[in-house]
C-alpha cells in the first residue's frame, strides 16, 4: 500500500469507527479524556525536554502555554461533559400543544485537526479534547516545522487513545494537500491567513465547515499610566511580546500605539524589563526562545533590511545566526508602509508607533484588518468603552496580555482576516458538534385549519394563531367572531 492508499484506509477506518457508534457514549469520551490527562502527566518531563530542544522553551513556559493548558482543558471537559452533552429543552407556545422541543448536540463525524508549530502540544491536543468530547473520530496533522513534537505525538497517542478513533498523520505540505482532498465533517486549522484560505477553498469542495484560528497584527494601545502601573504594564507587555515563543504567537503583541509624549518613558521601562527578564548580554540571552527555522529567521531579518526601518531601532537588533536567536528589539516609528508595519511580524521585533492623542489609535487600528487580539492599557472607562464600540477584534483585553487564553468561559477565535469560529471550554465542544433541533408532537389536538382546502375561515384562524391570539381563536371557533374577508 502506498502512502496515499494508507492514508485513505486510515480515514476510512475512522469513518467505520464513527458509524459503529462507539464514540457517542459518554463512557468512551471520558476514557479518552482521562487518557490524555495520563499522557501529559506521565510524560511531563519528556515534554519539557522535547519543547526545550525543539523550540528552546523553559519548563515554565512549556507548562504555562502548553502542558498546563491541555491539563486544564481536559479537566474542564471531564467535569462538564455530561452537561454539555445533555439536550437543551425549552417551552413552546400554547398553539403547538401538545409538543416538546429540544436542541440536541451530536458529533459531526470524522474531523481533521491541523496544528501549528509554535505551540505544538496545546494547539493539537486542545482542539483534540474538543473533538473527542463532542464524540467525533479525529485525524491530527501536527506541523512538520516541529517534527520532534509531531513524531512524539504520532508515537505516544496510539498507546493512550483509541487508535481506531484518533490517528496522527505526520508530514509536510504534500500530506496536508492530500488530506484536504478528502471529505471531512469538519476541519479545524491553526496557522497563517494564507494557508487558511487554501484550507477553506478545499473545504468548499465538500461543503465542510471550518474553524480557522489565524493571526494578524495584534495591537497594544498604551494610554498614560502612573509609574507603579507602568512597571506592571511593562512586565505584561514584555511577557506578552517576548514571552510566548519569542513573539511567534498568534495573540502575541505585534506593535504598540502610544502618545508621543509618553513614548520615551515607556521605552525606558521596557528596556529595564527586558534586561531583567532576558539579561543584557546579546550573545547570551536567557529565557528567550529561538526562531523556529532559518526561513523565518531570514524573514524577520529582512524586515530590518530597509535602512529607513533599521534607523528606527532604539533597542536590540542583534541576530545570532548559529542559535537562531534574535534579541528583543524595539523600533520607534518605523515607516507605516514598511513591511514590518503591513505584515504580521510573528517574532521578537516590537514597533512602537507614536501619535498626538491616544484616541487616534482607534482609527489606526481600524485602517488594518481585524486582529485576533487587541490589548489596551488604560484606566479611562470612557476610552475602554470607545475601544470596545469602535474597533473589532477576536478579543479585547484591558491592562494585560495573553491571559485571555486561560479563560475557558471566553470564546477564543478571530474575526475577519484573523479567523472564523472559536473554541476553548464549551466552545470547543460546540465547534465540533451539530446542534440538532428536535420537535416532538402528538397526534392529539389537530388544528384543522392548517390543512387545505383553504377558506377565509382558515385564513382568519391562522392569522390569530400567528398572533398567539388565543381568545380570538376560541371566539372564532365558537362562531362568536366572523372571519373577515381580507
Amino acid at each position: 500500500m502506498n502512502a496515499d492508499q494508507e492514508m485513505r484506509w486510515s480515514v476510512e477506518e475512522l469513518r467505520l469507527t464513527f458509524k459503529s457508534g462507539k464514540t457517542r457514549s459518554v463512557g468512551w469520551r471520558k476514557t479518552q479524556l482521562r487518557a490524555i490527562l495520563r499522557l501529559i502527566h506521565e510524560n511531563e518531563d519528556t515534554l519539557f525536554q522535547l519543547l526545550k530542544s525543539e523550540l528552546g522553551k523553559h519548563p515554565v513556559e512549556s507548562y504555562r502555554n502548553e502542558i498546563g493548558v491541555v491539563k486544564k482543558s481536559a479537566d474542564r471537559a471531564l467535569n462538564c461533559i455530561e452537561k454539555w452533552m445533555s439536550p437543551k429543552k425549552g417551552r413552546l407556545p400554547l398553539v403547538f400543544f401538545p409538543a416538546s422541543r429540544k436542541v440536541l448536540p451530536e458529533p459531526l463525524g470524522v474531523v481533521l485537526i491541523i496544528g501549528s508549530w509554535n505551540f505544538p502540544i496545546s494547539l493539537t491536543l486542545d482542539p483534540l479534547i474538543g473533538a473527542i468530547s463532542a464524540g467525533n473520530t479525529v485525524v491530527l496533522k501536527p506541523s512538520e516545522l516541529s517534527p520532534n513534537c509531531a513524531s512524539f505525538l504520532a508515537n505516544i497517542l496510539p498507546s493512550y487513545l483509541d487508535p481506531k478513533a484518533v490517528k496522527v498523520i505526520e508530514g509536510g505540505r504534500e500530506v496536508s494537500n492530500q488530506l484536504l482532498q478528502y471529505k471531512w465533517d469538519k476541519i479545524f486549522f491553526t496557522g497563517s491567513t494564507k494557508v487558511g484560505k487554501i484550507v477553506m477553498a478545499a473545504a468548499a469542495n465538500n461543503l465542510t465547515p471550518v474553524t480557522l484560528e489565524l493571526g494578524g497584527k495584534c495591537p497594544a494601545i498604551f494610554d498614560f499610566l502612573s509609574n507603579s502601573d507602568l512597571k506592571v504594564a511593562a512586565k505584561r507587555v514584555a511577557s506578552g511580546k517576548w514571552g510566548p515563543c519569542a513573539g511567534q504567537a498568534c495573540i502575541g503583541i505585534d506593535y504598540i500605539l502610544v502618545e508621543q509624549k509618553f513614548a520615551s518613558t515607556l521605552i525606558e521601562q521596557l528596556k529595564k524589563t527586558i534586561k531583567k527578564f532576558y539579561g543584557d548580554d546579546a550573545k547570551n540571552l536567557k529565557n528567550l526562545l529561538k526562531i523556529i527555522n532559518k526561513g523565518h529567521f531570514d524573514r524577520l531579518r529582512s524586515f530590518l533590511e530597509d535602512p529607513a526601518v533599521a534607523n528606527c531601532i532604539v533597542y536590540g537588533g542583534s541576530f545570532d545566526d548559529t542559535r537562531l536567536i534574535i534579541e528583543p528589539t524595539i523600533l520607534l516609528d518605523p515607516p507605516l508602509d514598511a513591511e514590518i508595519m503591513t505584515e504580521e511580524i510573528f517574532g521578537p521585533l516590537l514597533p512602537i508607533i507614536t501619535m498626538d492623542k491616544i484616541e487616534e489609535s482607534i482609527e489606526f487600528i481600524n485602517s488594518k484588518p481585524k486582529p485576533l487580539a487587541l490589548y489596551a492599557f488604560t484606566k479611562s472607562e470612557n476610552f475602554k468603552k470607545r475601544i470596545l464600540a469602535e474597533t473589532s477584534s477576536g478579543s479585547v483585553t484591558f491592562n494585560d496580555t495573553m491571559i485571555q487564553f486561560l479563560c475557558d468561559d471566553l470564546p477564543f477565535g478571530g474575526v475577519g482576516q484573523s479567523g472564523i469560529g472559536r473554541y476553548h471550554g464549551k466552545y470547543s465542544f460546540d465547534t465540533f458538534s451539530h446542534e440538532k433541533a428536535v420537535l416532538e408532537r402528538s397526534f392529539y389536538f389537530e388544528l384543522e385549519p392548517r390543512h387545505p382546502p383553504w377558506s377565509n375561515f382558515k385564513l382568519q384562524f391562522l392569522r390569530l394563531v400567528y398572533n398567539y391570539d388565543y381568545v380570538g381563536m376560541l371566539l372564532l371557533l365558537l362562531g362568536l367572531k366572523r372571519p373577515s374577508n381580507s
Binding site: G90, G243, N287, I403
Partner: protein
Amino acid sequence: MIKFYRRYPSITHRQHRSFSDLSSNSRFHLPIDIDYTMASEEQAKNSTAPATFDAEAADCLMKELRSTFLDGKTKSYEWRSSQLKSLLKMLEDSDKQICDALFSDLSKPEMEAYIHEIAMIKSSCKLALKKLKDWMKPEKTKTNLGTFPSSAEIVPEPLGVVLIISAWNYPLLLSVDPVIGAIAAGNAVVLKPSELAPAMSSLLAKLLGKYLDSSAIKVVEGAVPETSALLEQKWDKIFYTGNGRVARVVMAAAANNLTPVVLELGGKSPVLVDSNIDLTVTARRILSGKWGCNNGQACVAPDYIITTKQYAPVLIDSLKHNLVKFFGEDPMNSPDLSRVGHSRHFARLKKLLDDDKISGKIIHGGQTDKSNLKIAPTIVLDAPEDSLIMSEEIFGPLLPIVTVEKIEDGIEFINSRPKPLAAYLFTNTKQLKEEFVSNISAGGVVINDVTLHLMVDTLPFGGVGESGTGAYHGKFSFDAFSHKKAVLYRGFFGDAPARYPPYTPGKLRLLKALLDGSLFGIIRALFGFS
C-alpha cells in the same frame, strides 16, 4: 473572470435562465445556461433593475456601504429598531402586492402566501423588535483563578457589510428573514433576491428602497453575472439559501476573503412512517407538508416516505383519500396548489417522471401540463435506489414511497445517504422515537409532524453536512450576523510573579497550582511545597 456586460433580462415567469451543471475547477464560475429570452415589453418597462451591474458597480456599492458602516450609524439600537419598525410597516402596507407577486411568480395560493411567508416574516420582525435590547446586551461570564482578579464578558458586535443571496421558492421569506437578522445585528446589507421569482425580486427592490435606509440596505437584482460580480467583493458574511452545487461556488468565493458563510441548502428529507400511528392525522400532516408547501418545492418538504411492506397499502390508501379531500378530484385545476416554479424546473421534474427505471411504479397522479407548469400530486411506489427520483432532491410534487421489511431498516436506509435538512418520523413507539432522534443526523428532526419546527423561533434552523452549515431564526439569526467579542478586564493589582522570567522551580510550582485553580495548591506552592 469573464465579464458579462448585457442588459438585465427582464424575464417572464415562464422563460428563465437557471443554473446548469457546475463547471469544474474554475475559480468561482457560476454555472450558466444561456438559453434565456428577453421578456415582454411590459415587464421590461416595469423592471427596476439597473442597466448593468458589473464589477465596477459592485465596487461602488461596496464602497458606499462600507463607508456607511464605518460611520457607525447601523450599530445604534435606535437605527436597528427604526429599520425593523419600518420593515414591519412595509409588510403591513404591502400585503396585497406581496400576494400578487407570489401568485405571479409561483401561482401561490393566498393562504400559503400568508401563512408561509407574510405571517412568518411579520412574526420574525416582531420578535426581533421585542428582543433586540436583550440580544445586544453583553453577556457576563465567569473567570477563573488563573486570571484572578479579573472580570469578563462577551460583547456582540456587527460583522460589517453582509451579502444575502435568496431563493425563488419562498422569495419573500428567504430574502427578508435573513435581512431581519442582519439588521438586528447592526450590519449593512446587500440582498440579492432570486431572479427566478422576478415579480418578488422587483417588488423587494421597490419596497426595501422605499421603506428602509438605502444608504445601508440595498437590493441588487440580477442573475449569474450580477451574482458573480457581488461574489468578487470582500464581504464580512455571506448568507446563501439554495442548492449544494451553487453553495460550493459561493463558499469557494468566500474562501478568497476568509468570509464566513451560512449555507441553507436542502437534501432528501425522509419521512419514516411506522404502523403504530394515527393514520388520518399522519396522512394529512404529510400531505400538507408536501403539497401544501409550495407544491413540494420547499427545502424541508417531505421528499420520500419509508414504511413497511405490510403497512404501505394502508398508508397509500389514506394518502390518496386525503389528497382528494384536500385538492379535489382534479388537482391540476385546484386553486390550492402552487404551480412548478419555472420551466427548467418543470423539465427536471418531468425527467424524473419519465425515467425508465420507475415506469410502472407510478401509482397515483403523474399528469403534467407543460404550458401551465403544472404536475399532479404523484406517488411512486418502490422506485429503485438508483433511479433519478431516489438520487436527487425532488423539490416538487412527486412522492416516492420506499418499503422495507422492518421499520428499523428505515433508519439504516436514511443513514446510508447524505445528511438531510430535516428528518421526520411518525410513530407512537417510544423506543423507535429514541433511536431515530439519537441515530439520524439531520438539520432538524420532527416526530409526528412535518416542517413545523420552522415556526419555533427558539429552535436553530439549519443543515449539517450536505444540507448546509450554520443556522438562523430567532436569536440564532442575530448570532449568525454577529461577532461575539471576548473581553477581559484586568487591573494592575494582583500580579503573579510566576508569570515572568527569570523562571525558577518555585515559579513552576506556583504556576501549576494557579492553572489547576487550586487555592490549597497555591498556598502550598507559596510556602515552597510541590
